[in-house]
């Protein structure tokens, strides 16, 4: 039964809730309803407005009820766009599956207008290869393929920006905490993640600063750039490589490998990843793709013992899904 339209002036709710960064609209509506002791379905219908009282919440009504400007909500919230704007599909075909617990990034012009810190994203006439802040089209060459030796990894800060050559470039709060790849070519700073172009900005840093950036520079000590890890240890023979072991990512986002913990990322928590050590680089592979690479911190003896006794380094909680077929082998003589 549809609620009847009540011709009344919208008023702010008595208890106002602050939106969290990269929170979905649905989550924010539920928190807002719970704080005001309302049923979330009722508040959602009220936010949708007449005549249907269903669908996506209206941004204007949500802004009035929560007592915050609509621009603030657009900048903070993700998920289905509050302004009833359909999320455009990337022109390059369907997007690869997003890892678990990864907020779905927004791709609309309003986000670009509000998330930019300094300048607006490039217009189509300024950068034909990457028209706007919309998802870069498929006609743009893959950043990995067009790598010119200046691609670096950067971790997106809590404000949704990355630092490149002492200059901040916005990526979007939806990518907070994730690793992105940055390259600068022909006066355009291109930001991509996992081979998928995200944003493009005109260069604001001086060229002299760019020359000092090494291709393997990384924020975290011991982390290796993905393209460098791919070059040093190609992922061609993953299926037949006996060095690949499977690990369950623990709640801290790490995997145990040869007595050491290597960070795979919070987005992969609870998922099984493949781990191997090749050429002094520990590669973490998920769905056939290299997601993180670290310099080897374990000793060759530890790795040898691990391969002789698989799962011995697994914690009990993590080992449960992998021990359905126990493969414990007797320890060789002379081994503890």
């Amino acid at each position: 039964m549809r609620p009847r339209a009540i011709p009344e002036v919208l008023r702010p709710l008595p208890i106002r809730v602050r939106p969290r960064p990269a929170e979905t609209v649905a989550s924010y509506v539920v928190r807002l309803a719970r704080a005001n002791h309302l049923q979330p379905s009722h508040l959602h219908a009220y936010l949708c407005g007449p005549p249907d009282w269903r669908g996506a919440p209206d941004l204007g009504r949500l802004a009035v009820l929560c007592g915050r400007p609509g621009s603030v909500l657009q900048r903070a919230l993700t998920g289905p766009t509050p302004a009833r704007q359909p999320t455009p599909e990337p022109l390059g075909g369907p997007r690869p599956p997003t890892p678990a617990r990864t907020p779905k990034p927004r791709h609309n012009t309003e986000l670009a207008a509000t998330a930019g810190h300094h300048d607006q994203p490039l217009e189509a006439s300024a950068a034909p290869a990457i028209p706007t802040s919309q998802p870069a089209p498929a006609l743009m060459a893959s950043p990995t393929a067009a790598w010119t030796g200046r691609m670096v990894d950067r971790k997106v800060t809590s404000t949704g920006v990355i630092s490149f050559a002492n200059t901040n470039y916005s990526v979007g709060r939806a990518f907070t905490g994730q690793m992105v790849q940055v390259t600068c070519q022909d006066g355009t700073v291109q930001i991509s993640r996992g081979g998928e172009p995200l944003r493009a900005w005109s260069r604001r840093h001086p060229a002299a600063k760019e020359a000092s950036i090494g291709p393997d520079r990384s924020h975290d000590r011991g982390e290796v750039a993905l393209d460098q890890a791919r070059r040093l240890a190609p992922l061609d023979d993953l299926a037949s490589d006996p060095r690949v072991v499977h690990r369950l990512v623990d709640p801290t986002g790490s995997v145990s490998f040869a007595g050491r913990y290597y960070l795979a990322g919070h987005a992969l928590t609870g998922q099984v990843v493949g781990v191997r050590c090749a050429g002094g680089i520990v590669q973490i592979i998920h769905d056939g793709e290299l997601v993180r690479a670290w310099q080897q911190r374990h000793t060759p003896q530890q790795e040898q013992r691990m391969h002789q006794r698989p799962n011995i380094q697994q914690r009990t909680a993590n080992a449960r899904p992998l021990t359905s077929a126990p493969q414990h082998q007797p320890a060789p003589a002379g081994q503890p």
Partner: protein, 292 residues
């Protein structure tokens, strides 16, 4: 129970007994009920029309809100210390609950039942630290009818759920049957009754006239003119604060419109008053309180 001599005086010292300098009743009740678990005491303001019941309870709410804001000055705190609702005519429990929700700003759809509305109202009132609930026009409540009894039960339920002091105001509620029957006895056992009467011609009346004159913003008005006309004003209004306010405001607006910018005896004569005051002026008798 009517207490002769209890009058309504504007300003901070409202509701103070003339013959007793103790603390005002409303503030004392709010402090008394602050940590009460159940059986909170309330207040009923009863009196004839135009004696300032609504003015008195809204002044109480304003005073309490100012005190609460002084104690909790942070603007980030979601506090609604005072709730003011009016009992609609032919009220049902759902209508009363929706009145509470409308004051609080809760969006209520047509499909929301009374349980949802009451839960939302009580939850928000508890979270926002509501300490004073003012219910006006309580004489619309007829305990002899089924809906009236259910509304009374709803108010009782609100008073149990919300840790606040409830203040009712209405016209001659004790004669309207509010204290009759089982529910009426329960109300009588928890609520004190304060009767509002007209102002006698005394120093309080002169103080009231002086206060209202100070609030005037007329360019050519001579201060002290209305104070000298206090006997005339008392004779015309019968000591009713509502009639006095209507008379002075009407004359002030007329003075602004015609450009005279001052109040005189002649301009006051030109303003018509309510029927009760007009009848009082014709007979020349002082309006008697409903329950001396």
């Amino acid at each position: 129970m009517t207490r002769p001599g209890w009058t309504i005086t504007p300003g901070w010292g409202w509701w103070r007994p003339r013959r007793c300098g103790r603390w005002c009743t409303g503030r004392r009740l709010t402090l008394l009920n602050r940590h009460a678990i159940s059986a909170r005491r309330g207040l009923i303001v009863s009196g004839a029309a135009g004696t300032g019941k609504t003015t008195a309870i809204t002044q109480l709410g304003k005073t309490h809100q100012l005190i609460d804001r002084q104690r909790h000055p942070s603007p980030d705190l979601d506090r609604i210390p005072v709730v003011y609702v009016t009992v609609p005519p032919a009220a049902t429990p759902r209508m009363l609950a929706v009145e509470f929700a409308r004051f609080l700003g809760l969006p209520i759809t047509a499909r929301a039942n009374i349980t949802d509305v009451i839960e939302a109202v009580c939850g928000v009132c508890c979270d926002t630290r509501t300490a004073l609930v003012l219910v006006d026009e309580i004489h619309n409540l007829q305990l002899s009818t089924r809906n009236g009894a259910e509304v009374s039960d709803t108010l009782k339920y609100f008073s149990e759920r919300i840790p606040a002091t409830f203040v009712y105001a209405g016209v001659d509620v004790e004669r309207a049957g509010l204290f009759a029957g089982t529910r009426g006895q329960q109300l009588a056992g928890r609520f004190g009754l304060i009767g509002t009467v007209a102002f006698p011609y005394a120093s309080e009346w002169q103080g009231l006239v002086a206060t209202l004159e100070d609030a005037l913003r007329l360019y050519r008005h001579r201060p002290g003119t209305l104070v000298r006309l206090d006997r005339y004003l008392h004779q015309r209004t019968g000591g009713m604060i509502g009639s006095l306010s209507h008379l002075l405001r009407g004359a002030a607006i007329e003075a602004i419109l015609c450009g005279s910018e001052q109040l005189t005896r002649h301009s006051l004569d030109a303003v018509g008053l309510d029927h009760a005051a007009h009848r009082h002026g014709a007979t020349g008798t002082r309006r008697q309180p409903a329950h001396p």
